[in-house]
Structures are given as structure tokens and as C-alpha cells.
Amino acid sequence: MAKAKGKTPKPEELAKIDYSPPEKHWTEVPVELKPGTFCYGARPKYLEEVDFPNPRDWQPYEDDWKLPENWKDIVLEGMEDRLNKYRTFRLFMDICVRCGACADKCHFFIGSGDPKNMPVLRAELMRSVYRKYFTKAGKFFGKNAGARDLTMDVFKEWWYYFYQCTECRRCSVFCPYGIDTAEITIIGRELTNLLGCNTDWIAGPVANCYQKGNHLGLEPHTIQSNIEMMCDDIEEITSIRIEPTFNRKGAEILFVTPSGDLFGVPGVYTCMGYLMLFHELGLDYTWSTYASEGGNFGFFTSNEMAKRLYYKIYAEAKRLGVKWILGGECGHMWRLVHQYLDTWWGPADFLEVPKSPITGTVFENAKSTKMVHVVEFTADLIKHGKLKLDPSRNDHLRVTFHDSCNTSRGMGFFEEPRYVIKNVCNNFFEMPENTIREKTFCCGSGSGLNASENMEIRMRGGFPRANAVRHVNQKYGVNMLANVCAIDRAALTTLMQYWVPDVEVCGVHELVGNALVMTGEKERTMDLRLEDLPGKEEEEEDV
């Protein structure tokens, strides 16, 4: 029935990639919505819940997208408005010289060979329209000036390729002018949202997050029971009962993490790691069922929607009267907390500059936003010798670290997670240099692409990352891919099952939880996954 979903080819087939561009000029190659490479259209109820325009039943594979008659004017007015609001947009429309340095930097291009996945062409899809309607040269010289009309086909092409970019910013590292395709994709998606053309996989979480506080739509009692279930597991592993608090006024710290940590594996293992750490420290903190989402799918919709969703964080901190905010492991959340939150909702002068109650460290780097990354917090604890760690409990793991796009290129967060991992694991191996840190490759499913109907393009987009993992898997026997992102934990799991089946995925705090020696705990025989710790199960038999 649904033409969006296609059968995902076998890895051997998918790895055969043809990079030679077609004979025809790209403006003459019409967009082809291949099943398996795009997501379903947003259901009307989701758009209605957040007052977005043009809610209707539609599907991208249908000819008629049911747009308002004046759709073209809406798009062009939207462009003009944004050209005047964003220097990035105007500048990046003007100064590209098409040197091609970005061409082979995009994971989607490397995985698909589709030339319109070269960042330069992705941007040219919009630049060509910009030239036609907003520059004299384009108006007068038309095609010879690289201009083209905005037609329905062009709009569909935008939609297809702007929802086939994960806003990872790898291209912007290599661009001699710092042109950031993410900026163009963000604006491109805003324009599609003016016509109600979001994907269901993004619009659903946005509506959930707006009404219920988190993307997954977990209601307060469910959040509590999910966490209590994790505490049951922790009790089984350690014999220690943890009693976390929810919406508690007067706590020192509000903890906000992506809801992906509250539901499903391997996210919950990371969450168990937080719970154990905070318990062991005796941290005076609270969860919030209202600000129960660190991530922000609004950002994959429009800047305004992103701002609307992030209202909760400071508002809840204020209501509960906490001193500062601690944030969980998440990728785009941290780009937004680091680069946007304070601008949207600051100044948060009702909070105090974050100070670790355990070490006394004042987090000067977060003195305005008042929000600290949990890995920064933990790195500081380890540095001050405040944690008793037994890294040998992770000896069954040979770990590599995937730098998430957003924390890498939108924050510069490289050493903190490595420091923590090296202190809680004995076997750590880096992937090849050109695939990590600021040159890291996307999981292929970021920015709201981690649906199931677009599995082929996800596996293609994740191919460069998976390829580097396979290399360390073969060379060093790596069997665990650690990361600091909730989308990664979900998406890389699928990606590994497809490309490198013997590698599993975990968050950094799962490794911390394994290694953490807790006061009064029983001899550990299981890791946080409730799997036997090799070497320990024999002792168990002896007993």
C-alpha cells in the first residue's frame, strides 16, 4: 500500500556505490522519490496540536501534495523574510564558489553517490531559486546565471533533499568560507513547514513534546514507573535500592535528559548509569515530568518551534527553585543548549552559576546558560578522585567512541567523554583519525530521520560511520560503540546490526555505571544489561 517503504537491499548490494554523475545536467534530472529513502508525510492532528498551517492527509509519493493555491508566494515570502533575518542564509546564498571541497564530505553522498547529496548541490537547489527571485543577474540572465523557476518539482526536490540532510555540519568544517549546509537545510525545512510539509516522524514527537513534555509522549506516571523499573534492575545488580524524586521543589539540581533514555534499550542502560552515579554521590537533584525532554525535534521543523519546545527547561527550573541544571547525554540537545537556549530563553539569572556540590568546581564555561553536561560533571568528579571505579568490570568490552555531530561541531566536546571512558574502561581504541572528532561521521539518522520507512537512506548515510567501526572491529576486536547521544544509541544500534553485527552500542554513563563501585553494593556478577560479567559467573557457581 504505502509506497514510501521499500525493501532495504543487502549490505553487499548497498556498498556498491556509483559516484559518477549522470549525463544530464542536474537541473534537468527530476527528483525521484525512491521508496526507502524518505519518510511519510505528517498527519494533520500533529500539525493541529502545534497550530501549524495546512494540516491534511497527504503523502510525499502522491502526485498531489494538497498545497494552498498561493504556495509559491508563501515560499518566496518566507525566503525573503529569512534572507532579512539570518546573515548565514543570505551570505551562504551569495558566496559559494563551488570549489567542490565539500562534495565528498557528506555521509549521504559517500553512501549513495547521488550528486544532489553533495553539500554544494544541496545548497544549489535553493541558491538557483534565490538567484531567480532575489538577484538582478538571475532575473535578467536566467539559466546562464544559474537561476531557475520555483516549480512544484523544484519544491518536491527541496523537500526530498532537505529531509535527507542530517544537519551534521561536517561540510562546514571543510568549507573555506564556513558555509554551513545545516543552516540552509534548517531554512529549507522551515519553508516546507509553511506549507504543512513536515514528516510524520518529526511532527509526531514535536506534538508529543509540546503537549506531554517529551518526544515519546510519556505521561508523568509512565516516566516514574519506567525509572522505577530501572531502579528494580539496579537493585538486582547491586542490591541497592535507589529512590529518585520527581518534580521536587527545592532540589539543588534539575536533571534533564532526552526521553530516549527513559524508554527502550540501550538508552535505559545509560539512564541507569546516571541513577547509580547520582545516588552514590548523594546528589540533591530532581527529575521533572514536565521538562522531560532534553532533545528538541522542533529544531528539525523551525527555529520558532524549537524555541517553543525549549521553554520548559528554564521555566521548570524556576518553578522548582533549583540552583542549576544538569543535562544528560544527547547530541542535538547539546548543540541547542550550548548555542541557542540562552538566546531564546535567557538570561537565566534566577539560577546560580553551576557548582559541583561534590568537588566544589565552579563551571565557569556554563556561567550564563547555567547548564552543565553530565559528562563534564563526571569528568570533574573523576579528576578529583571522587569516584571509586573498577574499570575491569568493563573488560568484556573493547570500546571505541563515536563523536556525535552536534557535540563535536556545535560545541567542541571531545576530551571530556574520552577522559571518562579511559577511566572506566581498560580497552579503548580510536577509529581512524579522519572519521572522528570534528571530522566525525553522522549516524545517518540524525535531525529526525530515524524512522523505519526510510531505512535504505539511513543505512546509506550511516555507511561511512559503520565502515570506520568495522575497521576497528577487525583490527582491534572492538565490540562496543560508545557515544553521548540518544539518537545515536537508537540509530547506531540498527546501523551496527546492518553493517557490523558484532558491535553493540552504549552511552558513556552505562560504562560509568558498570565501573562505579557503590557503597554497600553486593559483589557484581552482572553488567547493567543484566548479562553475566565474564569471570564473575564462575565465582557465583562456587558459592
Partner: protein, 347 residues
């Protein structure tokens, strides 16, 4: 196709100057009027573009961080790739503008059996550096035509440029390097399939134009000699705003100056404005300090939000039932409890 079109335009420009000067004797037009107009267009156009960009707000603080952030004091941060202060941003920008830092990072993706590898690829960087610097030096050398006496730094540059001491007049290396570099940039556009695929007429045109400018310049200096004294008379006239057009300057000079004028006039309307744009790029010219210092968005407007009160209104009962604290107690407590009991009783 784009290449042929652009080549055609440049050839047409050469012919226009040739016919205009040789046929119609419009020396004053090509030697004075057009150059003046071109220079005015260049400056007004470039200022207009830069001011327009500069006036467009930067709503969000979005540097692309290419190195370790400044966080905990014992973690060494990358001052050049993730600058935390204005001074560090200055050095990051200097590296970018003067040494093309980002382009220097360039890698080439290759398949090696099952593996994808990323090898070093510095040719584009080298070609770019040679092109821009040789062009810059050639431009400085031309100051000798617009100054009297010629400043000593121009002499100095000339003596370095001609240090090979080949031929008479001495061979200036930068002219040759410029032509070679621009030819390289053209050839890679033609030969690398992906780059050919993305290229527009607007990418070939400046390359052909600069090739033609360098070629006519070299021809004039070494092969089809023109009377340098008369040329300087004309250029000094331009510089002093009292233009004269001496007789007997070779046509090639007018072709050269017409092509240069075209480049100047074309500059602000083309991708060549990256010259000004690179300084304004928010992914490069902002410090990575957005959690330390609040960045203000000038058009930050109020938005509709879902408040805690609305949230609690929807979930109060569920929250109370599992002991999550609420702001407002459940309404009409007693009757509701009663009904609850009742219904429980029924079940």
C-alpha cells in the same frame, strides 16, 4: 556547456575592445570612461554587498567548532579551532583568510576494497593559495603605474618577483604562476567529474577572464611591447583624476584594461564577493563561548508555549495518583474520592 558559453563571452569582450579601439578609435572610452565606471561599480557594489550582509542580523551563536571547547580548567582547549575570546577569534580568522585553514583540511574520499579511506588532498589548497597570492602581488606591482614616485615596497616586491633574472625585461614569476594556477583551477573543474557537474557559467567566466587578463598582460610585457611611458601617462592621469589619452599605445593595452574593467565591474555581482563574505561568516567569526556569554537575537519574539499549569491541568490526577507533587490539589476532593471508591466498588 557552461565553459563554452563563458569562453564565448570572454572572446566577445576581447573583440569588443579590439573593434572599439582599432576600428572605431574609442580610446577615451576604453582607456578612461570604462575604467572609471568599473572602479566606481566595484567599490560601491562591494560596499553595498558587505553592508547588506553586515546589516542582516546574526540571530544565533553558531560557530563551527573544529577543536576542543574551553570547559574544565585542566582540559587544554584549542584556541585556534574553538576560540573562546575575541583575540582567539581574530587568529582563527587570520588563519582562515591568509592561509585558507579550512581548505587545508581537505581530504579525498576513496574506496579501497571494502574500506572507505580519506587521504590528504592539498592540491586545491595549493592552487588556491598560489592563485590568490600571485594575483595579489601582480596587483601590488601595478601600483607602479599609479604612483609617482613609485613607493619602495613596490620596488622591493618587484625585485623579489624577478629574482630569477631571466630575460629582459626580467621575468616576473607571479605573472606566470597566476596563469598556471588559474589554468589548474580551470582544468580541475573540467576533469573532476563531480566538480564539472556542479560548475556553472559563473564559475568558468571569471577563470577565462583572469586567464585572458594574465595572458594579455604577459604578452604586453614580453612579446607585443607597448610604450610603457605613454601607458604610465594614461594611468597617472586616471590616478590624478585628470585623464589624458596619449596617442600610440598598442591596442593590446586597451584589451587588457577593458578585461580588467570587466572583472572589477563584475566582481560585486558574482561569487567573487567571497573576498568580503569570508570575514562575515558566523560559523567562523564567533567565539565558542555561548554558555559563558549570552548571545542576543535582535528579533527574538515571544512565542506560544505550553505552560506547566496547562500540563498539570491535564495530568494532575495521574500525577497525584503516583505521588508526584502538584501545584494545585485535586479539586472537589471528597466527592471525587467518593465516586472513585464507588466505581472501584462496582468493579
Amino acid at each position: 556547456m557552461g565553459a563554452l558559453f563563458s569562453l564565448g563571452v570572454v572572446i566577445a569582450l576581447v573583440l569588443v575592445a579590439l573593434v572599439g579601439v582599432k576600428g572605431a578609435h574609442l580610446q577615451p572610452l576604453f582607456g578612461v570612461v570604462i575604467p572609471y565606471l568599473a572602479v566606481i561599480t566595484f567599490f560601491i557594489g562591494l560596499i553595498y554587498r558587505v553592508v547588506k550582509w553586515g546589516k542582516t542580523p546574526v540571530p544565533f551563536h553558531i560557530p563551527t567548532t573544529c577543536g576542543q571547547q574551553k570547559s574544565l580548567p585542566w582540559i587544554k582547549y584549542s584556541k585556534l579551532e574553538s576560540p573562546a575570546t575575541g583575540k582567539e577569534v581574530f587568529f582563527r580568522m587570520a588563519l582562515e583568510v591568509l592561509f585558507f585553514r579550512s581548505l587545508f583540511r581537505n581530504l579525498k574520499m576513496q574506496r579501497s576494497g571494502e574500506r572507505v579511506v580519506y587521504g590528504s588532498a592539498k592540491w586545491l589548497w595549493l592552487g588556491g593559495i598560489l592563485f590568490h597570492y600571485s594575483f595579489f602581488i601582480v596587483l601590488i606591482r601595478h601600483l607602479r603605474l599609479f604612483t609617482n614616485p613609485v613607493p619602495s615596497f613596490v620596488h622591493l616586491i618587484e625585485s623579489f618577483d624577478g629574482f630569477l633574472q631571466i630575460g629582459l625585461p626580467k621575468l616576473m614569476m607571479t605573472g606566470v604562476i597566476l596563469l598556471a594556477a588559474v589554468t589548474y583551477l580551470f582544468l580541475r573543474r573540467i576533469y573532476i567529474p563531480s566538480v564539472r557537474y556542479i560548475s556553472l557559467p559563473a564559475d568558468y567566466f571569471p577563470l577565462f577572464l583572469i586567464m585572458a587578463i594574465a595572458t594579455t598582460g604577459i604578452l604586453m610585457r614580453y612579446f607585443i611591447r607597448v610604450d610603457v611611458v605613454k601607458v604610465k601617462e594614461l594611468t597617472m592621469g586616471l590616478a590624478r583624476l585628470s585623464p589624458t589619452v596619449p596617442d600610440g599605445i598598442g591596442t593590446i593595452f586597451y584589451i587588457h584594461i577593458f578585461l580588467v574593467s570587466t572583472l572589477f565591474a563584475y566582481f560585486p555581482f558574482s561569487k567573487l564577493v567571497h573576498l568580503g563574505g569570508v570575514f562575515l561568516s558566523p560559523t567562523r567569526n564567533l567565539a565558542n563561548n555561548s554558555r559563558m556569554v549570552r548571545h542576543v537575537n535582535p528579533w527574538n519574539y515571544p512565542v506560544k508555549v505550553h505552560t506547566y499549569e496547562e500540563y498539570e491541568e491535564e495530568f494532575r490526577e495521574k500525577m497525584v495518583s503516583v505521588g508526584i507533587p502538584v501545584e494545585k490539589p485535586l479539586e472537589t476532593k471528597e466527592p471525587e474520592e467518593a465516586t472513585e471508591e464507588e466505581s472501584e466498588g462496582k468493579e
